[in-house]
């Protein structure tokens, strides 16, 4: 098959499934489910087909023209998009398969699968988009579909609120992104990504560094929103209100990864904008630490994973900002796999025990779910960076890049974050596998095959993916950093330290089951309250918006409308008064006429 039909199959088949399902199959959820799974399989196969074919020249079609602006519609098929496309399609397929079990009894099944399909379409189209505006459109559609997926159980007010929060916060970021790309359009009347990035004629050669910094910074605001970086990260933990497979999809490989992927796409621009790169690096490092600290104290398994996602996204952005495209892509891919794995495992626990609390799951006998617990441990280890699992290799790349470029402070931050990661991950594992009291009842929950199978596949991925680093680098046309042994050893040391402390706090027999941080009360409070960031928003931005709308609403009712009404009534009252002239007495009438005539006569006489 030729490239065009493959790419169309990849992107369009989920869309077709969505349309058919939502219009015709509302009453037949099983058919919808089958159709959507089928579509996603086709999409995955064609994405693999594209990857096998290897990178080719972008395909472009004219979209529209307005004045000097020409917009293209098309597909970019380079290493990054091909690989990431496969990852997206693969994770999506896994999660759909998993959802068959997870959502088996949900009344809104058709809607669920249709939305998943819609999401897959927008995400894949975003990945392959050749035009920056096209990217933006699908970026927004990704946001839209995640809005619906997060708010899937819209009857729950929390879910609806979380969906709204996610939409609005990413929207704030999108405004930045939108202004950024409009600035680009204004400057070069062109949105074609390859030509924007061209080292000879691209954007960076056409505009001054200051403007380039401004543009990239604005784009980064968008990335901040989507990839949940401080200060726009607070939506992501809330978004855990959605069904767990949705969390697995959105917060591992796809929606949040879109921000990172945009940075990967525009990496040369960010590299040319030195100041922005530094800002990105700082924010990413800070976010990685911040999120890890909150994950240390949270008790909700999905929240922990959510904060972990934020922190890992920070790692990716650190890598990219530090200059390594490869490290960023590599960590993006490995993270996609092991984080999806972790979410799916948590989903099985939640499905089985109907609780999100890690301690509760442990007490209910979480470790009896053998395959799941295996997945949890492998995935957790990969997340922590235990060699030789996937996360180890990709994090190693990041450290190497940071060290190579001499970002020592940031490297220290990265180490701290890595330490915390290992700590909270194993805290989670220990809380589940080593409960403080034996499970009360003994009845075991089956792990349905269609939920177990994706877990096992992803477990395998988390184990082996780390060894494909050089292939990925090749795919990108890059050479990986040489690993320095000292760095590697110290990294492993940090991870082991984290695991040990976790073991000491939670894992050993007679463990206190409170984190070491609880001994430092102020920090504990700070972390438990999520650094008060949501509260700060509540009293600042939210309050200001409400106050403004209240003021303007008052103005509308009392100043504008009120005065119009008053004006109208005033005229009516004047009208009522003016009838006094008509007093009823006939000589008065005559008198008026005569006086006025006299005035006229006088006027004429004076002339």
């Amino acid at each position: 098959m030729d490239t065009l039909s493959l790419i169309l199959l990849t992107t369009i088949s989920p869309l077709a499934c969505f349309i058919i399902a939502i219009i015709f199959l509302v009453q037949q959820p099983r058919a919808a489910q089958g159709l959507v799974l089928f579509g996603s399989a086709i999409s995955l196969l064609s994405a693999i087909g594209l990857l096998v074919q290897g990178p080719v020249e972008p395909l472009r079609f004219l979209w529209f023209q307005s004045g000097a602006i020409q917009l293209q519609f098309g597909f970019i098929l380079d290493g990054a998009s091909l690989m990431f496309g496969v990852v997206v399609a693969f994770i999506t397929a896994c999660i759909m398969l998993y959802s068959v079990g997870y959502m088996a009894h949900d009344p809104g099944k058709t809607r669920y699968f249709a939305l998943l399909s819609f999401f897959a379409w927008s995400m894949l189209s975003f990945v392959y988009a050749v035009d920056l505006l096209q990217s933006f459109i699908f970026w927004e559609l990704v946001g839209l579909s995640s809005f619906f997926l997060i708010g899937f159980w819209f009857e729950k007010p929390e879910a609806a609120g979380a969906a709204r929060k996610a939409f609005l916060m990413t929207r704030v970021g999108d405004v930045g992104l939108f202004i950024g790309i409009l600035l680009i359009l204004q400057l070069v009347s062109n949105f074609d990504i390859p030509s924007l990035l061209d080292p000879q004629t691209g954007l960076s050669t056409q505009v001054s560094p200051g403007i380039l910094n401004a543009i990239t910074l604005l784009i980064f605001i968008g990335i901040m929103g989507k990839s949940a970086q401080f200060p726009l990260h607070t939506w992501l933990p809330d978004a855990m209100e959605g069904p767990t497979p949705v969390s697995a999809l959105l917060h591992s490989a796809t929606m949040v990864a879109a921000g990172v992927f945009l940075m990967i796409r525009l990496h040369p621009l960010f590299m040319a904008a030195q100041d922005t790169a530094l800002i990105v690096l700082s924010i990413a490092t800070f976010t990685a630490i911040l999120a890890s600290t909150i994950a240390m104290v949270d008790t909700d398994i999905k929240k922990v994973l959510a904060y972990s996602s934020i922190s890992q996204l920070g790692f990716m952005l650190m890598a990219l900002a530090a200059g390594s495209l490869f490290a960023g892509v590599f960590h993006l891919i490995t993270h996609a796999v092991f984080k999806a794995l972790l979410f799916l495992c948590s989903g099985i626990y939640i499905h089985a025990y109907h609780t999100n609390s890690m301690a509760e799951i442990g007490r209910s006998g979480g470790r009896r779910l053998k395959a799941t617990t295996l997945g949890l441990i492998i995935g957790g280890a990969a997340l922590s960076g235990v060699p030789p699992l996937a996360g180890f290799w990709s994090k190693e790349e990041i450290f190497a890049q940071l060290g190579h470029n001499g970002f020592n402070i940031y490297m220290a931050g990265a180490f701290l974050a890595a330490f915390l990661t290992a700590y909270y991950t194993f805290r989670m594992i220990f809380l589940i596998t080593k409960p403080d009291q034996a499970p009360a009842s003994d009845h075991s929950h089956p792990e349905p095959l269609n939920m177990k199978a994706p877990v096992l596949i992803l477990t395998l991925g988390a184990i082996v993916l780390g060894f494909f680093g050089s292939n990925i680098a090749q795919g990108l046309g890059l050479i990986p950093q040489h690993h320095s042994v000292i760095l590697m050893i110290s990294a492993v040391g940090v991870v082991i330290l984290g695991i040990l402390i976790a073991y000491f706090d939670y894992g050993r027999d007679n463990a206190p089951r409170t984190g070491f941080i609880s001994k430092i009360a102020p920090l504990d409070t700070l972390f438990t309250n999520k650094w008060y960031i949501d509260d700060i928003y509540r009293v600042t931005i939210v309050a200001i918006t409400h106050a403004l709308s209240r003021i303007l609403h008052w103005i509308e009712n009392h100043v504008l409308d009120g005065n119009y009404d008053r004006f109208g009534l005033g005229i009516l009252r004047t009208g009522a008064k003016s009838t006094r002239v008509q007093g009823g007495w006939m000589q008065l009438y005559l008198g008026w006429a005569i006086i006025l005539l006299a005035v006229v006569a006088l006027y004429l006489g004076l002339q």
């Binding site: 004045g67 459109i137 819209f154 009857e155 405004v175 409009l182």
Partner: protein, 491 residues
């Protein structure tokens, strides 16, 4: 039969037939109206296809001298803008008839007034003679009062009166303005094309332009003269709100474009900075006020103020003669169309929910999504279009206008783009309060009354239009762009 006259005469003949039909023949009346709506759609499509974008300019011209002594002629003709807006009106007319299919109360009169409104709107979009332009403009305004009064809801007497007084106060500004243009040119013709060839004295242009702008602007929801629009929308029956917000408000913008900007370019350029400020205030203000409304239709009404602000912003940016003029005008016209379809969808759906529940209070619902999934989904689509989501038509319009704003007045540009967030805030507020959350047991009875069959057709048409132009904007932009280039070339 010339095409434009056919389009114009279709509703005229419909009106005459309606007046001759007996009161009781409700079914026949509906069918005739639906047929006439469909016919205008088909004819408009023919117009769209027949319009040659490569040569641009005014096409399908028809001239019949009307009062030749003083230069009034029945002069019809459309440029690309006209084609699009005629299409818009046809679509909204047709879907509006279908939306009101269930009406039982005084059906004949209702459709008669509605058709009269449609005649006026068609006439404005086609007229190239100041007299007929204003003639049809007023015709379009007239039926609003009875329509709101008789079939409306809530505080309709007040709303209808307010609407009429505002609009006719706007006309009061137009009257001297339009006539002054005629007499000042001294060409003894009301023909817009002939007048546009005349260069008016700049002092005169600067003097008259605000009258034209504000006079038409009142109908376009110009801040601070927008007060009539939300109140009117709320009180009107759904199809009237559809026509009103969807098409009627565009008349104002179209008037500014056709009379104000075409004839008085220098005046327009002189005043543009002032009016840009007003438009920006309108966009932000509308969004903020919409946030606090407790009534569905009020939210939509203020969102219309905000969205029409984008049209006005685009128009004003277009006359500044900057490099972004083309984009601005393209965007403004695109927004007229997109907003027309969008609000039609909005009101048609909000009206449906109201008809079934007799409640318009947002907080009264809560979790309606579980009870009326179809109606709610359709409302959500409209809401998302309002929030400027890509993939739906208004995204392109906003993109182009914002782009022009950023180029011309960067600060204004940033402010209006930030307005996108505000839009999302008020739209999502409606979603969350009315559609999401725990279902209110009060509305369990609505489960059986969700939209189905015939009710879905008009909404489906509107959604299809939004999506088609959302993904293939070229279909329209090519048409608009060629006209814009020709239009701005005359400056």
């Amino acid at each position: 039969m010339p095409l434009l006259s056919s389009i114009l005469l279709t509703p005229v003949i419909t009106l005459i037939i309606l007046l001759l039909m007996p009161q009781k023949a409700v079914r026949g009346i509906r069918l005739i109206c639906a047929f006439s709506g469909l016919l205008t759609c088909v004819l408009s499509l023919q117009l769209w296809m027949g319009y040659d974008p490569t040569s641009g300019g005014i096409q399908f011209e028809e001239i019949i001298p009307w009062v030749s002594a003083i230069g009034i002629s029945y002069h019809l003709g459309v440029d690309g803008f006209g084609v699009i807006l005629v299409m818009l009106n046809s679509i909204v007319y047709f879907t509006g008839v279908l939306t009101m299919w269930d009406l039982e109360d005084r059906v004949k009169e209702y459709f008669a007034f509605m058709v009269l409104l449609v005649i006026g709107v068609f006439g404005v979009f086609m007229s190239l003679d100041l007299f007929f332009f204003f003639f049809f403009y007023e015709i379009a305004v007239v039926p609003m009062y009875p329509l709101i009064l008789i079939w409306g809801s809530g505080n309709r007497a007040y709303a209808g009166m307010k609407l009429m007084l505002f609009l006719l106060a706007g006309s009061a500004l137009l009257f001297p303005g339009l006539l002054a243009i005629y007499h000042h040119a001294g060409l003894n013709t009301f023909d817009i094309i002939a007048l546009s060839a005349h260069t008016f004295d700049p002092q005169f242009q600067i003097f008259v332009y605000p009258f034209i702008y504000i006079g038409f602007g009142v109908l376009a929801g110009l801040f601070p003269f927008h007060g009539w629009s939300p109140t009117g929308h709320v009180a009107a029956p759904s199809a009237v709100s559809m026509l009103h917000a969807g098409v009627l408000m565009k008349l104002g913008a179209f008037g500014i474009l056709t009379v104000g900007i075409r004839l008085l370019p220098e005046g327009a350029a002189y005043w543009a900075p002032t009016f840009v400020v007003l438009a920006v205030i309108g966009i932000i203000y509308g969004a903020y006020v919409a946030m606090r409304q407790t009534d569905f239709k009020f939210v939509i009404g203020f969102s219309s103020v905000s969205h029409m602000g984008i049209v006005l912003l685009g128009l004003n940016l277009a006359v500044l003669g900057s490099v972004a003029a083309t984009d601005a005008l393209n965007g403004a016209v695109f927004q007229m169309f997109a907003h027309g379809i969008m609000t039609a969808l909005f009101f048609s759906t909000a009206g449906y929910i109201y008809d079934k529940s007799h409640s318009k209070t947002i907080a009264d619902f809560g979790g309606l999504g579980a009870q009326m999934p179809r109606a709610v989904s359709i409302f959500i689509v409209a809401g998302l279009c309002g929030a400027g989501l890509p993939g739906l038509a208004s995204f392109w319009a906003e993109l182009l206008v914002f782009l022009a704003a950023l180029k011309t007045y960067p600060i204004a540009g940033v402010i209006v783009i930030l307005g996108l967030v505000l839009t999302a805030v008020y739209i999502l507020r409606v979603f969350n309060q009315a559609f999401f959350g725990a279902p209110n047991p009060k509305w369990e009875n609505l489960k059986a009354q969700d939209m189905s069959g015939l009710h879905l057709i008009p909404r489906a048409i509107l959604i299809a239009v939004l999506v088609i132009f959302g993904f293939v904007p070229r279909l329209m932009l090519d048409l608009i762009n060629s006209t814009t280039v020709a239009f701005l070339g005359n400056f």
